[in-house]
């Protein structure tokens, strides 16, 4: 139905894609897998002719026999949305915040002149019903900010399928969503493909997602397709070493040698954290919102404790109280026996015992400071030592960076390198506990495997304790000894990681585990054999 023949793309003389060829049959789901910068999104943009300025394309993109690349902009406008629909990664920014969801879905129909205004509204309503937003709970007059991320992604899907396109392109449609929401969205996409007899080009970095969904998979690296074939066959043979490498990285098990001791480093007892809820009436103050509700756990020295939960469950709020940034409304937190107090009440000697590594390697650093100053920041808690450059050099080498990195600015480094620098900053005061807040979630699988190895190695060498916060169950399983499952401000289950993962007690844990996409076991065994 659609086929790419020797598609090559260069932007300002830098080669982005070279000789990409594949075809998608009607009613087929085609998975395009690759790491960031591999050119998978550019392939989709080339199909839609939405490439940035300075692009030079060659080759052919045939849609039902017509070459899309040869079409004029006017012809493309008629094609986009009509024959090819597209869904993007970030549902938070893909919708116009000042238009109702009904209007936004109807807009596609109106632009293409497919319906009158009143008819478009009716079709839009049907589409919203179709994607699982029923009229009684989600009237067309809702605005995007009144919906959750998953619901917004459903609106995006409704917009993309409003004109029943032949091809739907989904660019990382579930990357920004929680696992249970991800499972629902993937299920919806699969249903739509069957019902509407569309083709779906599913672009993702996650091998497990395509394994469960796609009929056909292609693996992309540096703008080239290294391997493609029917999904099951591709997973069973993995003829190209890069595919194998990707697969191994995604299920990477770091070598953890250290044993947790029996001495607790962090004790959280009946912690309660409340926020003032916004006033809805002038003279009536609503009861406060309880983000962390009676949470208790203990973290041992040298132990790595996982904290799993979906967005909004209170894990970030809990982190902030552990770091002594926000006060508790009840209960207490003790760090190596001393109470953690919020703000200026917490002594520097205690504060230096806990450090944090964040998710986003781009916003974790002040872009105007050089690496040396960034890494030295925690010395604010102590005296800046005289040979501070040596300290920074040492700690950079500990995390596997060159010492001369300290004289460069942060934008000169890749995401993985930045995350190493973030770990260096956390290590510089020799803390006892490091809070890793989704610290590997934004990284590509191969980089993620390296960072996990580094973390495991540091733990063994320095006897660190980790509080590992993540929504990614595979990662938590690989790096933690024990795990806490959090839901709506409460810990619903805790126990040794393997036990929780193999025999969960709480239905919510079961639900999380079921929702996580995974590669069928029998596909993997043949590979290992």
């Amino acid at each position: 139905m659609i086929s790419l023949k020797n598609l090559s793309l260069a932007i300002h003389d830098t080669s982005i894609l070279s000789d990409v060829s594949f075809g998608i049959q009607q009613g087929q789901i085609f998975g395009l897998v690759g790491e960031s910068g591999s050119g998978k999104s550019m392939t989709a943009l080339a199909l839609m002719q939405l490439l940035p300025g300075g692009s030079a394309v060659s080759g052919q993109v045939l849609l039902d026999g017509a070459d899309v690349l040869a079409m004029s902009e006017t012809e493309m406008c008629a094609l986009r949305g009509n024959e090819i629909g597209m869904i993007f990664q970030e549902p938070m920014t893909a919708l116009n915040p000042v238009q109702t969801i009904g209007d936004q879905v109807a807009e596609t129909l109106l632009i293409h002149g497919k319906a009158s205004k009143s008819k478009a509204a009716i079709i839009a309503r049907q589409m919203l019903d179709r994607v699982g937003l029923p009229a009684d709970r989600f009237p067309s007059s809702r605005f995007p900010h009144e919906l959750s991320g998953g619901q917004r992604q459903r609106v995006c899907i409704a917009m993309a399928i409003a004109l029943r396109p032949k091809l739907l392109i989904a660019d990382e449609p579930t990357t920004a969503l929680d696992v249970t929401t991800q499972a629902q969205i993937l299920e919806l996409l699969q249903e739509l493909v069957v019902e509407e007899n569309m083709s779906l080009l599913l672009i993702t970095h996650d091998l497990a997602v395509v394994a469960g969904l796609a009929d056909h998979v292609a693996v992309m690296r540096n703008g080239e397709l290294v391997e493609q074939g029917p999904t099951e066959q591709l997973f069973k043979t993995m003829s190209h070493p890069y595919t194998k490498q990707l697969f191994e990285a995604s299920s990477h098990q770091p070598n953890r040698l250290g044993e947790p001791q029996e001495a607790p480093i962090l004790e959280v007892k009946n912690a309660i954290r409340e926020y003032a809820a916004p006033r809805t009436k002038l003279f009536h103050r609503p009861p406060p919102y309880r983000a962390v509700n009676d949470v208790s756990f203990t973290l041992m020295r040298g132990e790595s404790l996982g904290l799993v939960g979906e967005s909004g469950c209170g894990k970030s709020t809990l982190t902030r109280t552990i770091l002594g940034l926000d006060p508790l409304q009840g209960g207490e937190i003790r760090l190596s026996g001393e109470p953690v107090l919020a703000g200026e009440h917490m002594p520097a000697s205690l504060r230096k015992k806990v450090q944090i590594v964040f998710q986003d390697p781009y916003s974790s650093f002040n872009p105007r400071h050089k690496v040396q100053r960034l890494v030295m920041e925690p010395f604010h808690l102590t005296q800046v030592p005289e040979n501070s450059r040596d300290h920074v050099a040492e700690v950079l080498e500990t995390v596997g960076m060159e010492a001369d990195a300290m004289d460069r600015y942060i934008h000169e480094f890749s995401g993985g390198q930045r995350q190493r620098i973030a770990i260096a900053r956390a290590l510089v005061l020799h803390p006892d506990l490091i809070v890793l807040d989704e610290a590997v979630s934004a990284l590509d699988v191969s980089i993620r495997a390296q960072i996990l190895d580094l973390l495991a190695d540091l733990q063994t060498r320095l006897g660190l304790s980790y509080l590992f916060i993540s929504h990614d169950l595979t990662v938590v399983r690989a790096i933690t000894d024990r795990v806490l499952v959090m839901k709506a401000g409460k810990i619903v289950e805790q126990g040794p990681t393997e036990q929780v993962f193999t025999a969960p007690n709480h239905p919510y844990t079961q639900q999380l585990l079921d929702a996580a996409p995974h590669i069928p076991d029998d596909w993997q065994e043949t590979k290992h054999a």
């Binding site: 504060r351 944090i356 964040f358 998710q359 974790s364 650093f365 872009p367 920041e377 604010h380 600015y409």
Partner: protein
């Protein structure tokens, strides 16, 4: 590294006026305080390069000394606006949602609510017209502009992870504001500063035009325009010359601001 074109053009224009001002302290072609009525309304010649005005004063000398007034008044006025507005904005952002934030921002609204020229007239009516009062009037109305820009930009920086990292290092709001917030909003402030500077030049010219700025015999561009009004049909040159000077000065400052922003932001620098 290549310098942005706007920066070069803007700097040349602005530099030209600054050089003229510097020169005017030591030498002008003629003395602007001496009236030579016999030479009034001369067209440009080797003696008077840009001609003379209705009192026979040399136009070039008048423009040079007039630039001095404009620039001095505006520098001090924008300085007042930045010096008070930026710390207020940082304070408001650091204490977001607190009473202090409310007091600062509502105070700003209060100043915004009054038309600046009317207040300038009020100030000069109470204290008498002078360059100093023009400075005060323009300066006060720059405060809320800077406070608002600073607060808005600072709030978006406060949500970033590196601020949280700094807080886990025990840094207090003041230290974070100076060390992390200010450098990252400096580019915005510089751009706003040049815009306010050019608006200040216009405001000073406006106040002088209605007679509330620098008083005779100190020349100023605004009053040169006002004086030229009666001659506009007989000798338009008298109005054009200070008018062109104002336009070029404002244009130069705006171009320089744009160029500086491109140069100062390491992220934009990398992309170029």
């Amino acid at each position: 590294m290549r310098l942005p074109v706007q920066l070069i053009t803007g700097s040349i224009l602005t530099g030209f006026f600054v050089a003229a001002v510097a020169l005017s302290f030591f030498w002008t072609p003629h003395d602007v305080t001496i009236l030579t009525i016999a030479d009034k309304l001369q067209t440009p010649s080797t003696e008077y390069w840009l001609g003379t005005d209705h009192f026979g004063r040399d136009m070039l000398s008048m423009l040079m000394v007039g630039a001095r007034t404009s620039i001095a008044v505006t520098i001090v006025a924008v300085g007042i606006g930045m010096g008070i507005g930026v710390p207020l904005g940082l304070m408001a952002a650091a204490n977001r949602g607190s009473l202090l934030d409310e007091v600062i921002m509502r105070g700003n609204d209060l100043i915004f609510a009054f038309p600046s020229l009317v207040i300038a007239i009020l100030i000069t009516a109470v204290f008498g017209p002078s360059a100093l009062n023009a400075i005060l009037a323009i300066g006060i109305f720059n405060i809320p502009v800077f406070a608002r820009v600073t607060r808005g930009a600072a709030l978006s920086i406060w949500t970033l992870d590196y601020i949280l990292a700094a807080r886990t290092c025990g840094k207090r709001a003041l230290r974070i504001s100076v060390e992390h917030i200010l450098p990252n909003i400096a580019n915005l402030l510089i751009v706003q500063g040049t815009i306010q500077f050019s608006l200040g030049i216009l405001a000073e010219a406006g106040l002088s035009y209605v007679g509330l700025g620098a008083q005779p015999p100190t020349p100023s561009w605004g009053r040169m325009l006002a004086d030229a009004q009666t001659y506009i049909y007989s000798d338009a040159r008298l109005a054009f010359l200070p008018g062109i000077a104002i336009v070029l000065m404002v244009l130069g400052l705006n171009l320089m601001g744009d160029g500086l922003r491109d140069l100062l932001d390491p992220r934009i620098r990398r992309e170029r």
